[in-house]
């Protein structure tokens, strides 16, 4: 089995209704995503899932020097970026892409699929 990070990529400007057209649409997407997550968990595929608060709630910490320096805001300011993530454990990329296609469909955002470097070590 191999672990993959599914990153939900979208607008970073905290739009009304989370970027969905209406409050109803937002609730429909959240309900569909919830049901999807329950199924992933039941199938033993889900390692972790959550959404992220807006980027302006982030704090960057630089502890490379003697004292940690704190900076308000995200590491990189950009129009689009990470809004949520899944970590899944599946046999191979084909299985991960299938989960990602459904994940993208239920949350109505694009999803980036990226393998974890420890994918191989996990099986040993």
């Amino acid at each position: 089995m191999a672990r993959y990070l599914l990153s939900v990529m979208g607008r970073q400007d905290n739009p009304e209704f989370g970027g969905y057209g209406s409050v109803e649409e937002m609730h429909a997407a959240m309900a569909a995503t919830g049901a999807f997550n329950d199924r992933l968990e039941a199938e033993g595929v889900l390692v972790f899932v959550d959404g992220l608060e807006a980027p302006d709630t982030a704090t960057v910490v630089d502890g490379r020097g003697a004292e940690a320096i704190l900076t308000d805001g995200p590491f990189i300011e950009s129009k689009e970026g990470l809004n949520g993530l899944w970590i899944i454990d599946v046999p191979d990329l084909d299985a991960a892409l299938k989960v990602a296609a459904e994940a993208s469909h239920v949350c109505r955002e694009r999803v980036e699929v990226r393998p974890f470097a420890t994918a191989f070590a996990q099986t040993a």
Partner: protein
């Protein structure tokens, strides 16, 4: 009597894909499979001339490559003991459970054409891993630096390994879609050979067209009969196109249009095979199988090549086939080709009206301007035709095609105002 060099060349041609595929399955590592297969052939080059050609050359190469692979895994074992143990345990494992078809070479093709890889990487990887072409050969074919091509291929191999792209034929439900991707790669290889781009290249690259035909034949033979339709169509399309290659260039390297070609110079053997395959698909269509894109393109080609002279072409049938194609592939390029057939079947005026409607979507496509130029000259609008040739010459990348267009433009009457449209001139 065959020499060792001939035996090595033949074994490479016939066994390369099988050897790499078997190693890839056994060791689960495409990179290792490719490198040790190449090393085994290098060993054959050293040994066969002195020791003689072994009775079963393919088995000799496989065994040699497997030994090299095991040696290499042992050498690297200090670094990754667990990995090595996992590999060695799998030495005599049966093939992984597979989807619709069980053949290592077919798995190899599907892995190399995986949709998670960049399209240009799929083409390069297929030629290297399945076709056995060297990196310099592939780099030359696609006019890129060897280092660039080497990086492209090793990046794709790294992604296959790190992202765990499976070494597997897709399951039956996914097969048609994934097969489309494979055939698209093979068609791209063929087309690059048939209409090679770039100044200073040979206009027709027979090495690439030949390789595309060989790989398409392999894929078709490996598929279960029920899934072969489009692969058969593509193979027929390639054969019927390749059959005309010898007549497609004039002595001075200019592209010769289909209606001007010497039909006696076409390759009868390739034509016969291609036509038989089209016939096979026409019979399948009668039994209710729906013809896909490549089958329709092959059928259109079959109509062209079975006409004794260009003037005997059954344009009505070609218009109908393009209509069928438009319904499954509504691309403006299909509509452009249909418009050309309509101009022959009906009149240049009707064809031209259809072509003009595609202007928005095809303004950067050289064949759109070539078609427009030809139709404009047929309806007597010489000045407009000249401008269209200018644009086509600007956009065309193939040396033979450019030469042809320049000649056609030069044949136009001087750009003086015409009192009325002249009679339709002979297109040839």
């Amino acid at each position: 009597m065959t020499t060792a060099a001939e035996a090595i060349a033949r074994t490479h041609r016939e066994e390369w894909a099988r050897v790499v595929a078997g190693l890839a399955r056994r060791f689960g590592d495409l990179d290792l499979a490719e490198e040790t297969a190449a090393e085994a052939f290098a060993t054959a080059v050293e040994r066969w001339p002195a020791d003689g050609v072994p009775p079963n050359p393919g088995a000799w190469i496989t065994t040699t490559a497997q030994r090299k692979a095991i040696d290499r895994i042992r050498r690297e074992s200090h670094r990754d003991q667990k990995h090595q143990e996992a590999m060695m345990l799998h030495d005599d494992s049966p093939p992984d459970p597979v989807g619709a078809v069980d053949d290592d070479r077919l798995r190899l093709v599907f892995t190399c054409c995986h949709p998670a890889l960049a399209p240009e990487a799929r083409v390069a990887l297929t030629l290297r891993i399945v076709g056995g072409l060297t990196v310099p050969e592939i780099a030359h074919a696609f006019l890129v630096q060897e280092t660039t091509m080497g990086q492209r291929i090793s990046r794709a191999k790294s992604k296959i390994k790190a992202a765990r792209i499976p070494f597997r034929v897709p399951e039956a439900a996914d097969l048609p879609e994934r097969l489309d991707g494979v055939l698209a790669v093979l068609y791209l290889v063929f087309n690059e050979g048939y209409l090679a781009s770039g100044e200073g290249t040979d206009p027709i690259r027979r090495d690439l067209t030949g390789e595309a035909i060989r790989l398409t034949r392999l894929v078709r033979d490996l598929l279960p009969p029920a899934d072969r339709g489009e692969a058969t169509g593509l193979l027929a399309l390639m054969l019927l196109t390749e059959a005309r290659a010898g007549a497609r260039l004039s002595a001075d390297g200019e592209l010769v249009r289909l209606d001007e070609q010497d039909r006696g110079a076409w390759d009868r053997r390739l034509l016969a095979e291609g036509i038989a395959l089209v016939q096979e698909r026409i019979e399948a269509a009668r039994d209710g199988e729906r013809a896909g894109r490549y089958q329709l393109l092959a059928a259109i080609n079959a109509v062209h090549v079975t006409a004794p002279h260009a003037r005997d072409t059954d344009w009505g049938r070609i218009v109908a086939l393009y209509g069928q194609l438009e319904r499954i592939d509504p691309s403006p390029i299909v509509s452009l080709n249909k418009a050309i057939a309509i101009s022959e079947f009906d009149s240049p005026e009707v064809g031209l009206a259809q072509v003009e409607r595609l202007a928005d979507r095809l303004s950067d496509y050289h064949a759109f301007h070539t078609t427009r130029a030809e139709l404009l000259r047929l309806v007597g609008r010489s000045a407009d035709a000249r401008a269209a040739y200018d644009r086509a010459i600007e956009l065309a990348g193939n040396t033979a095609e450019t030469a042809h267009l320049i000649r056609r433009r030069a044949q136009l009457a001087a750009p003086t105002p015409q009192p009325h449209a002249p009679a339709r001139e002979n297109a040839s």
